[in-house]
C-alpha cells in the first residue's frame, strides 16, 4: 500500500526512483497473472481495458490496484462467455484475434493500434477463405470483435478502421489470383504496421524543432511519443527542463521523470493540482493523446483539459504529439459525450460507501485550447485534423 503525500514525492525523489525500478521489475512478473485471465475473457465492462493496459505499461502500479482489477475481472465472468460462445460458432476466429491482440498488446513498446493491425494480419494469414469477399467479411468480423472487446480504446478502433480501409481499398487486388492477393494483403498489413511504428520517429523529428534552448516544458501523462520527442531533443543537445505532473492515479509522471532523468534532462515533479501554480514558469505544454477526434480536440488522460485551460489562459502554447492512427471519427460535444472509460482509483484510505468517486480515466480537450498537433502526417492545426479525417475515411 502506498501512502504518499506530495511533499514526500518532492523530497525523496531519489528514493522513489529506486522504488519505481523495483516496482517495474515486479510489475513484469505480477502482470502475467491477470493477463492470462484477460486473454480469455473480457474484463468487466465497467473497467476500461485500454486504461488498464496503459496503467500496466506506463504507470507505477500498486499491488492492491492489481488485486482490485483482478477482483473486477472475477466479479462477473459470465458476461463474456455468453457473448463469445455465440461468436465462436463461426469457427472461433474472433476469439483468436482477441487472443492474438492481447499477446501483442503485452509488449510495452507496441502501440495498441499496431498490435491490432498485427492481430488482423495474422487473421489474414490463418484464414481459410477462398475468395476476396470471404476474406473481407472475415476481416470485418475480426475487427468488429476486436473493437467490441474494448470500446474504450480509441486507437484500437481507429487502427482497425484504418487498416480495413488500407487493405480493402485497392483495385489492383481484383485482377490477381487469390493467393497472391492474399500475400499482398499480408505485405500491406506489415507495411502498415511499419509505417505506424515509424510514426513516432517522424513526430519526434518534427516536434523537437519546437524545443528551444532554455525552455521549460510541462508534460502531462506518460506518452511514448512525447518521450520520443524529448529524447530526440536531448540527443540534439538542446537544453531544456521538464515539469512532470504526477499523473494520479497511475502516477505516470513518476515513470516519465524517471526516463528523463536517465537522459540527464532536468526534471521537476509537480502534483497534478500544481499546474496553475507553476504555469508562469512554463514555456510550452506537451501532451500525448489517446485519441484525436474530428473537431481537432483530443481525448487524453484525465487532467489534460484543465492543464490546457490554464495554459490557454496564460497564453502558453499547448502541443499535442499523436500518431495518425489515433485519429478517430468521433465528435464529442462535451466531457460526458463519450463512451465512459472507468478505472478504479486507489485513494490510499478506505472510502465510505456513501461517497461517490469520479472514476473516469480520460477527458476531452476542445480544439480551441490546443495550439498544434505533431503527427506523422505533418504538423497540423486542430482544424486540419478533420480535413485529414475526411480524406482518410470518405
Amino acid at each position: 500500500m502506498w501512502r504518499r503525500s506530495a511533499s514526500f514525492v518532492l523530497d525523496k525523489q531519489q528514493q522513489q526512483y529506486d522504488d519505481v525500478e523495483k516496482q517495474e521489475s515486479s510489475l513484469l512478473s505480477s502482470t502475467t497473472t491477470p493477463s492470462m485471465a484477460e486473454t480469455l475473457q473480457n474484463p468487466s465492462p465497467k473497467i476500461s481495458a485500454y486504461y488498464q493496459t496503459r496503467a500496466a505499461h506506463h504507470g507505477v502500479v500498486t499491488s492492491d490496484w492489481l488485486a482490485q482489477a483482478q477482483a473486477a475481472v472475477g466479479r462477473d465472468p459470465d458476461d463474456h462467455p455468453s457473448e463469445s460462445s455465440s461468436k465462436s460458432n463461426d469457427s472461433g476466429k474472433p476469439f483468436g484475434v482477441i487472443d492474438d491482440f492481447n499477446n501483442w498488446r503485452k509488449q510495452p513498446d507496441l502501440a495498441e493500434a499496431v498490435a491490432a493491425i498485427r492481430a488482423l494480419a495474422s487473421v489474414i494469414r490463418s484464414s481459410q477463405a477462398t475468395t476476396m469477399m470471404e476474406l473481407e467479411i472475415e476481416l470485418k468480423k475480426a475487427s468488429d470483435s476486436l473493437k467490441s472487446w474494448d470500446t474504450t480504446s480509441i486507437s484500437l478502433t481507429a487502427g482497425c478502421d484504418l487498416f480495413l480501409r488500407y487493405v480493402t481499398r485497392t483495385s489492383a487486388l481484383e485482377y490477381e489470383d487469390f493467393d497472391s492477393a492474399k500475400l499482398r494483403l499480408i505485405e500491406r498489413a506489415e507495411k502498415f504496421g511499419e509505417i505506424s511504428y515509424k510514426a513516432r520517429k517522424i513526430i519526434a523529428m518534427l516536434g523537437q524543432d519546437f524545443i528551444f534552448d532554455g525552455c521549460t516544458i510541462l508534460v502531462h501523462g506518460f506518452s511514448r511519443v512525447v518521450l520520443e520527442v524529448l529524447k530526440m531533443a536531448a540527443q540534439n543537445r538542446k537544453l531544456f527542463r521538464v515539469f512532470c505532473t504526477e499523473g494520479r492515479p497511475d502516477r505516470t509522471g513518476l515513470r516519465l521523470s524517471n526516463e528523463l532523468a536517465k537522459l540527464d534532462v532536468p526534471v521537476k515533479l509537480l502534483i497534478d493540482s500544481a499546474a496553475a501554480y507553476s504555469m508562469d514558469e512554463v514555456d510550452m505544454v506537451f501532451v500525448g493523446a489517446d485519441g484525436v477526434v474530428e473537431s481537432g480536440g483530443i481525448i487524453n488522460m484525465m487532467g489534460t483539459y484543465q492543464i490546457a485551460l490554464v495554459a490557454n489562459c496564460m497564453n502558453k502554447p499547448v502541443y499535442v504529439a499523436a500518431e495518425s492512427y489515433k485519429f478517430a471519427r468521433l465528435y464529442p460535444l462535451d466531457q460526458k459525450d463519450m463512451v465512459p472509460a472507468l478505472r478504479p482509483i486507489d485513494f490510499g484510505v478506505p472510502i465510505p460507501s456513501k461517497v461517490e468517486v469520479e472514476t473516469s480515466a480520460r477527458d476531452y480537450t476542445p480544439p480551441q485550447y490546443l495550439t498544434l498537433l505533431f503527427t506523422d502526417l505533418g504538423i497540423l492545426t486542430p482544424s486540419a485534423v478533420s480535413d485529414e479525417l475526411i480524406q482518410l475515411y470518405l
Binding site: Y166, R169, F192, E294, Y331, I390
Partner: protein
C-alpha cells in the same frame, strides 16, 4: 493510407510548377526585348501624346526579334488609332485594353506574349483549364438593386411587373424591395400571355409567392419537380438543339421563379446541377432518351442529395441525443423535426424547447406535430431564449445554407439563438445537407439577404388594439425592415451534421472542394 487522396494535390503542384517554368522561360527568352518594351512603356506612360515617337523610338534603341517587331508595330498602330478616336469616343472598352496592359508589371506582360508567340502549343498542353472556363467558375455578381442601369434593364426583361416599395430601407437598397401582394393579380391576368411558361412551373411560382411552399428543401424539391414536368412536356423546336434551347427555357422559368421569390442558395446549387446535366447531354442522344435521362437525374438528385442525405443526418444526429437531454430548436426545420421524431421513436427520454418568433410563427406548426407524436415540449418566443437556455443541453438548428467560411445562413433569429447558446456553453449543432453548401464567403447578413413583406411586422393578426403602425406606408420617415435570413459566424457553432458525417465548421471548405464537383457529376 496516403496513396489515393494525395495524388490530386501533387498534380496541382505540378501545374503550378509548369506555369512558373513558363514564366521563367519567357523572361529568359526575350530578355533584350523585355527591356526595350519596358522603356517604350515608360515613355508612353509619361507622355500620352507622343505616340508616333514611341513607334519610332523602339526599333531604333533595341534590335528585337521579328515577331517582337510586329508586336511593337501593332501597339504603335493601336496607339495611333486611339489618338485618332480619343476625341470622338471617350474610351470604348476595346481601346482601353492596351492602356491597361501598359500599367501592368513587366512579368505579367510577358505571360501573354509567350502564348502568342513561342510556347502557345506548350501552354495548351498543360492541365490548367483555359481562361474562359476558369471565368465561368466564378459565380456572376449578384444583381445590385441600387444600380439604376441594371435595374432598368432587368425591368424590361421581367415577366412580372412589380411596384417598388415606397419606403425602402436605406442600408438594404441593394436588395429587391417590392410592394408585396401586387404580383399576384398581375400574374393571374397574365396567365395566358405568358406563353412559354409551363403550368407546373407557374403553379410552383405562385406557391412561392403565396408562401404555400416554404423551407429550403421543400422549395428546392418543388422547383425540381416542376422542371421535371416541364422537361417531360418539352419538344425541341425545329432547327434547334435540345441542350441549348432547353437551357434557355429553364433560364426563363428561373427568372419567372425569381420574380415570384428570390432563389435560395440551395436552389441555386440544384439549378447548377441541372444545367450541367443538360450541357453534358451528348448531341447524338434522341430527344426522348435525353429527356428520360434528365428526369432520372432530377429524381436521383432529389433522392440522393435530399431524401437519403436527411436519413444519414438523422442517423448521425440521434447519436448525440442522450437520455435526460433538453433540446432546443428554433423555428421549424424539416431535418430537425425528423431527428426529434426519430429519437423519440428510439425511446430516448428527452424534452424539446421550441423557440419561435414573429411574424412567421413557424414553430407552432412544428410544435403541433411534435406534441401530436407524444413528445414533451416547451414553447417560447425568442425574447425568452436567455431565460430558457440554462436548462438546455443541446441546440439543434437547421440552415438555409452553409458558406465556405463556416458561416451559417439561416432563418432570421438563428444567430441570436446560437450566440446565446454559446454564451451559456451549450453546444450548437447545425443540421444541413451538403447540397446546401456554397463556396461563397459572407461576413454579415447585409450583403445578400431577402426582404419580406414589411406589412407583416407592422400588423399583428387578431389584435385590433395593436394599431399604432396603421397606414405606416404613408409616413415618409418610417422604414420597416423585415429580414428573412441572418448569418451566424462559425465561432458560435460546435458542429455541422451533414450527409458526410459530423464535421466542424472549419471543414466546410474541404467538403465543398472535395465534393463540390460531385454535385455536378452524379
Amino acid at each position: 493510407m496516403e496513396c489515393s487522396p494525395r495524388t490530386p494535390r501533387i498534380g496541382f503542384d505540378e501545374a503550378i510548377l509548369g506555369n512558373t517554368l513558363h514564366h521563367f522561360r519567357a523572361a529568359g527568352f526575350n530578355l533584350t526585348v523585355a527591356s526595350g518594351a519596358k522603356k517604350a512603356r515608360g515613355i508612353s506612360g509619361k507622355a500620352a501624346g507622343t505616340v508616333v515617337e514611341v513607334a519610332n523610338d523602339l526599333p531604333a534603341t533595341s534590335k528585337p526579334l521579328k515577331e517582337k517587331m510586329s508586336k511593337s508595330e501593332r501597339r504603335a498602330l493601336q496607339e495611333s488609332q486611339r489618338a485618332a478616336k480619343a476625341a470622338a469616343k471617350g474610351g470604348a472598352s476595346v481601346h482601353e485594353q492596351p492602356g491597361k496592359t501598359l500599367k501592368q508589371p513587366s512579368q505579367k506582360k510577358d505571360g501573354p506574349q509567350v502564348t502568342s508567340s513561342v510556347a502557345a502549343s506548350e501552354k495548351k498542353g498543360g492541365d490548367r483549364p483555359p481562361e474562359k472556363d476558369r471565368k465561368k467558375d466564378v459565380p456572376p455578381p449578384r444583381m445590385q438593386f441600387d444600380d439604376k442601369n441594371r435595374v432598368e434593364k432587368a425591368k424590361r426583361r421581367a415577366v412580372v411587373k412589380q411596384t417598388e416599395a415606397r419606403n425602402r430601407v436605406e442600408l438594404f437598397r441593394h436588395l429587391p424591395q417590392y410592394e408585396h401582394g401586387t404580383q399576384l393579380p398581375d400574374l393571374e391576368s397574365k396567365f395566358f400571355l405568358l406563353d412559354p411558361m409551363h403550368p407546373a412551373v407557374y403553379k410552383v411560382g405562385i406557391q412561392y409567392l403565396a408562401g404555400d411552399v416554404h423551407g429550403g428543401n421543400a422549395r428546392c424539391i418543388a422547383m425540381l419537380q416542376a422542371f421535371r414536368e416541364a422537361i417531360k412536356d418539352y419538344t425541341t423546336p425545329q432547327e434547334k438543339t435540345l441542350s441549348r434551347d432547353l437551357t434557355a427555357k429553364i433560364n426563363s422559368f428561373v427568372s419567372f421563379l425569381i420574380a415570384c421569390r428570390p432563389l435560395s442558395i440551395s436552389m441555386g446549387n440544384a439549378l447548377r446541377f441541372l444545367k450541367a446535366r443538360i450541357a453534358k447531354l451528348s448531341a447524338t442522344l434522341a430527344e426522348s432518351e435525353a429527356k428520360a435521362s434528365l428526369c432520372s437525374d432530377i429524381d436521383r438528385f432529389i433522392n440522393e442529395k435530399i431524401v437519403v442525405a436527411d436519413k444519414v443526418i438523422v442517423g448521425n444526429a440521434v447519436t448525440k441525443i442522450r437520455d435526460g437531454d433538453v433540446l432546443l430548436t428554433y423555428g421549424s426545420s424539416s431535418v430537425v423535426e425528423m431527428i426529434l421524431l426519430h429519437a423519440h421513436e428510439l425511446g430516448k427520454e428527452f424534452r424539446v424547447v421550441v423557440v419561435d418568433s414573429r411574424p412567421k410563427l413557424e414553430g407552432q406548426a412544428l410544435l403541433r406535430r411534435l406534441v401530436g407524436k407524444g413528445l414533451r415540449c416547451t414553447y417560447t418566443h425568442v425574447n425568452a431564449v436567455s431565460y430558457i437556455m440554462p436548462e438546455v443541453t443541446r441546440v439543434f438548428l437547421g440552415a438555409a445554407s452553409v458558406l465556405s467560411n463556416g458561416t451559417v445562413f439561416s432563418r432570421v433569429g438563428t444567430a441570436c439563438v446560437a450566440m446565446v447558446a454559446h454564451a451559456f456553453h451549450v453546444p450548437v449543432l447545425i443540421c444541413c445537407e451538403a447540397y446546401k453548401f456554397h463556396e461563397r464567403v459572407q461576413l454579415d447578413s447585409i450583403c445578400s439577404n431577402e426582404l419580406g413583406d414589411p406589412d407583416v411586422i407592422a400588423k399583428v393578426s387578431g389584435r385590433m388594439d395593436v394599431n399604432y403602425l396603421d397606414n405606416w406606408a404613408n409616413k415618409e420617415n418610417l422604414q420597416l425592415l423585415n429580414l428573412l435570413y441572418d448569418a451566424t459566424p462559425s465561432d458560435y457553432i460546435s458542429m455541422i451534421i451533414t450527409d458526410y458525417g459530423m464535421v466542424p465548421p472549419t471543414s466546410v471548405p474541404v467538403i465543398v472542394r472535395e465534393y463540390g464537383r460531385e454535385h455536378l457529376l452524379i
